[in-house]
């Protein structure tokens, strides 16, 4: 569960990125987070992953209180939150298989478990036949599916996708969003930051709109509440 209570965040240069945000995303929910550039979407993601601390208010993510989390607890928080980025962030010199296995290795999973889990996740995102390829040999859509597989492999309870379709054509975007919806159907909480109005409306999930550091609308009917 993600819970923001009256959260403000100011940067040292004086910018007020969030000015009292309160929201709650329940376990297993699928929510879109929309809003213009600079509205505070990235700040919300960084607060959820523990990259930033709130200036005031409280942030609870999967049982961790982010306003008073200790530095050495942050890795354990991050194991509960898978993150997918617009620019994929894959390791080019590792194969598809190793990119996913790497995420399990670095949290200390044993070889036997890795060998059974990685093919399962690659199968889930439809990349099992490309496991020996390198990211450079994949299309944009495939690279994003690989990034999703990596985010998914440690079985996090939440996935945050930051503009996951920003670099993809409409057909691939639909594919990726469908995949995220399928993963959500399996029980993973999903928070997707996006600009794609068509997709948001097509999926008819909850839409939280943020504007100038404040939540301007929070609707359950897939209604996209601002114009670019």
């Amino acid at each position: 569960m993600i819970e923001f209570t009256n959260v403000t965040k100011s940067y040292s240069v004086g910018t007020k990125a969030l000015r009292g945000v309160s929201m709650q995303i329940e376990d297993g929910e699928f929510a879109f987070l929309v809003g213009p550039s600079g509205s505070g979407k990235s700040t919300i993601i960084k607060l959820i992953t523990g990259e930033l601390k709130p200036t005031s208010g409280s942030v609870h993510v999967n049982g961790y209180s982010l306003e008073r989390i200790r530095k050495r607890e942050i890795p354990y928080l991050r194991r509960t939150v898978g993150v997918v980025f617009q620019d994929f962030r894959l390791i080019d010199n590792k194969t598809v298989y190793d990119n996913v296995a790497f995420a399990m290795r670095v949290v200390g999973t044993g070889t036997r478990e890795i060998r059974s889990r990685v093919p399962y996740v690659l199968n889930l995102v439809g990349l099992e036949h490309k496991s020996r390829r390198h990211p450079g040999e994949l299309s944009g859509g495939e690279q994003q599916r690989l990034a999703i597989a990596r985010a998914l492999v440690n079985n996090p309870s939440t996935i945050i996708a930051d503009e996951p379709t920003g670099n993809l054509d409409p057909a691939r975007s639909l594919e990726i969003m469908t995949l995220l919806q399928e993963i959500n159907n399996l029980g993973t909480t999903m928070l997707v930051v996006t600009h794609e109005q068509n997709l948001v409306e097509q999926f008819a999930n909850r839409v939280i709109t943020i504007n100038d550091g404040l939540i301007s609308s929070d609707r359950m009917d897939g209604h996209y509440d601002y114009e670019d």
Partner: protein
Amino acid sequence: MKINNLGYLLKEGIRGIFLHGFMSFAAVIVTVACLLIVGSFSILVYNVNIMVDELNQTSEVLAFVDDTLTYAEAQTIETKIRQIENVYEANLVSREQALKDFIADHEGEAAFAGLESDVLRHRVVVVLEDNTKMEETVGEIRLISGVEDISAAYELAEGFTTLQRVLQFVSIGVIIVLLLVSLLIISNTVKLAMYDRKDEIAIMKMVGATNGFIRLPFVVEGFTLGMVGAALAFGLEWLMYDLLVARIQAMDTLNLFNLVAFQELLLPMILTFCSAGLFVGIVGSWTSIRKFMNV
């Protein structure tokens, strides 16, 4: 940490060396260069110190025996002097021998032909272990009854002692500066290697790797590179030093330079090179990775 993971981390560390071949090569070359400079300077200082030591030993103390005493009585004085703590060597020279030596040391022996040995006194030639304590030891010799007079080149001995002190002081300073410069250069090289992999580190942080887990392969890498650098520098130092010694000995027909064989320095050199290699490798990678950990 599971054994399974430890194996993986070690393997990753070694793999990193080959994966980032050029940076690894640069780090090793810089380590070798720095260690060679520090090592060569240390050996130079060590040799100069020994040479000054040897020169210092040539400054003797002469204890003149009362001229009413016989040679046999003078021998007991020689024994007493030998028992003094700082005395390395004491040899009684009879007045007859002293005269012979004196004449032999001077040209125109004929001029001294009529000289009787009783114009001279028996004397004990004393070599000290530590010339910095010359004044003290001379005082002790003076207390022995039958010792009438003492000639000691305090100034010369003091000069050598000062020279050695200055040399030690300067060399420790230079070695510290060289080590610091080496550490700085090596840690910068490691930093560049880290920069090369900042994306990989960011991904590790993102999926929830602990700092220890991220660090270990880099530290293994730093350790391995440091050791390889130390081993290469050690081999090169040995080779260069042996060549230099052979070259100097071939030219130095007067035996002016008495250089220490590298074999004599083997253990301290191995220890110094290995610990310096380890230190710069591990500290270099540990400190430079910190910058990339704050993600």
